[in-house]
């Protein structure tokens, strides 16, 4: 599905080259939920953006659905969710979700049908005609997830989608995201700063560290696919959290 081999990305800056990614080798299979965790500058967002063809790696190979990232982007292989909802203030919620469908040229009747379906999926039925400012931050982010789901790409890339939300809203959205994932069977790449979030959501956790941005540990989660929020109090959950923390420490992520 997504395959990276020896991936590297170096930005040339005035202070010399910055190694945003070095020697990243990783395979994400169909239906996986893979989280990327690490401190700022570890390259987790850069990796996700490379998959989306928003950045272009300088070394190694990267394929998405067997295609180059650019070809995959044009084939609309993925939906991308940013940290901010980024809804257009001049469009209603339905209008915002319709945006990618308009650009991709779906027929009008199908647009309506798809908008209704994803609104139901993110539990926003009834808010179709509201404008973004009439919704809370959490609801706006749900709408932006619906927008990414509307055109039914196999892959969902999420860059700290709940980073700006408070913990209570975040817990609820995490739960909903898991539901959504089990309903749709999508492949999800998820960038986060939060250890509990990464462990709770993922089938696999990729621990990264900075200077240069690289993978320090890949943890296969033994947790079942169906999980409730209180799984976070089980010994298995705490053991994985501990291993993530160890991985971050090994990458000197806690050094200031």
């Amino acid at each position: 599905m997504i395959e990276a081999r020896g991936l590297g990305l170096t930005f040339q800056t005035a202070d010399g080259p910055v190694h945003a990614l070095r020697d990243v080798t990783l395979t994400i299979g169909r239906g996986d939920f893979v989280s990327f965790i690490g401190p700022s500058g570890c390259g987790k967002t850069t990796f996700l953006r490379s998959v989306a063809a928003l950045e272009h790696p300088t070394e190694g190979t990267l394929t998405v659905n067997g295609m180059s990232p650019d070809a995959a982007r044009l084939a609309r292989a993925y939906g991308y969710v940013f940290q901010a909802a980024g809804l257009y203030p001049w469009r209603t919620i339905a209008g915002n979700i319709r945006l990618p469908l308009e650009i991709m040229g779906f027929p009008r009747a199908e647009q309506d049908e798809r908008v209704d379906r994803v609104l139901e999926l993110v539990e926003l039925t009834g808010f179709a005609r509201k404008f973004p400012w009439q919704l809370s931050g959490g609801m706006q982010q749900r709408a932006s997830i619906a927008r990414a789901l509307a055109f039914d790409a196999d892959i969902l890339l999420m860059d700290e989608p709940f980073g700006a939300l408070d913990e209570i809203v975040r817990d609820r959205l995490n739960e909903e995201l898991l539901n959504l994932w089990s309903q749709t069977g999508k492949t999800i790449g998820f960038v986060t700063h939060s250890i509990p979030e990464a462990v709770y959501l993922s089938t696999r956790i990729v621990v990264m560290s900075p200077r240069p941005g690289r993978i320090t540990d890949v943890i296969e989660s033994p947790l079942p696919r169906q999980r409730a929020l209180d799984i976070r109090d089980t010994p298995e959950f705490l053991a994985i959290s501990h291993r993530v923390r160890e991985g971050l420490r090994a990458g000197h992520s806690y050094d200031v």
């Binding site: 989306a52 982007r73 980024g86 945006l99 650009i103 991709m104 055109f151």
Partner: protein, 287 residues
Amino acid sequence: MKAVLPVLVVVAAIVVLWYGAAVWMNAAWVRDQAARAGESVSFAQMVPQTLNQERPVLPTPHQVVAELWKGLAGQAVTSKRSLVYHGWITLSATLLGFVIGTGAGILLAIGIVHNRAMDLSVMPWAIASQTIPILAIAPMIIVVLNSVGVTGIVPKAIISAYLSFFPVVVGMVKGLRSPDAMQLDLLSTYGASRLQTLVKLRVPASVPYLFASLKVGVAAALVGAIVGEMPTGAVAGLGARLLSGSYYGQTVQIWAALFAASILAAALVALIGGAERVTLRRMGIAR
């Protein structure tokens, strides 16, 4: 409603200051007349004589209002003494120029945003064009266009457009560039074309900027039309009214024409403000 009192206080203060200034400035003529007649005038005798002079240095508010009323309502609108007649001549050139200027401004802004060569080459010229005093270039435009047979409303409209395109270019470049990197990235993930990005994102995002520019632009267009009327031999229009007033020392006429022009400008800006409110509310941007 709370704002009414402060507004009235400010207006009253301006009127009082104006009367004071009129008495002070027009007193010299009264004293001259008295000196010539070998009389002396007391302050109490002088004041009434400063308020209703035929050619005052500074006309009093009631003189201006009376002249304005006479010009607006006291004549047939086809009369050459009617401010409605002159106002319409100026307004038609203003509107034509405003439409040309706004259209040109929007097209230039779209070009500047999409083409780096245009960004580097057009903007300096646009800025340079505005540093030339309009009074200096207006006669040139009239003469040049006259020599190629273009007369009437068009040369005035072009001067209007010359002044009004600039705020539109500056505002629209800013507006079309207002979407942030994330919003552009989002459209890029959909594989959107540049045209789609323009239509779906840049243009809607620029609307609030456009209205701000239009308000400045329409006022500038009116100034352009008035200035454009001056070198045409003061035939018709508010500019002609201003010029003929100054030829014959008709200060009351000048002030009445000035007020007519400013009322017109205020009306145009208010009209755009109304269109702005309606549009932004319909778009859902205004709450």
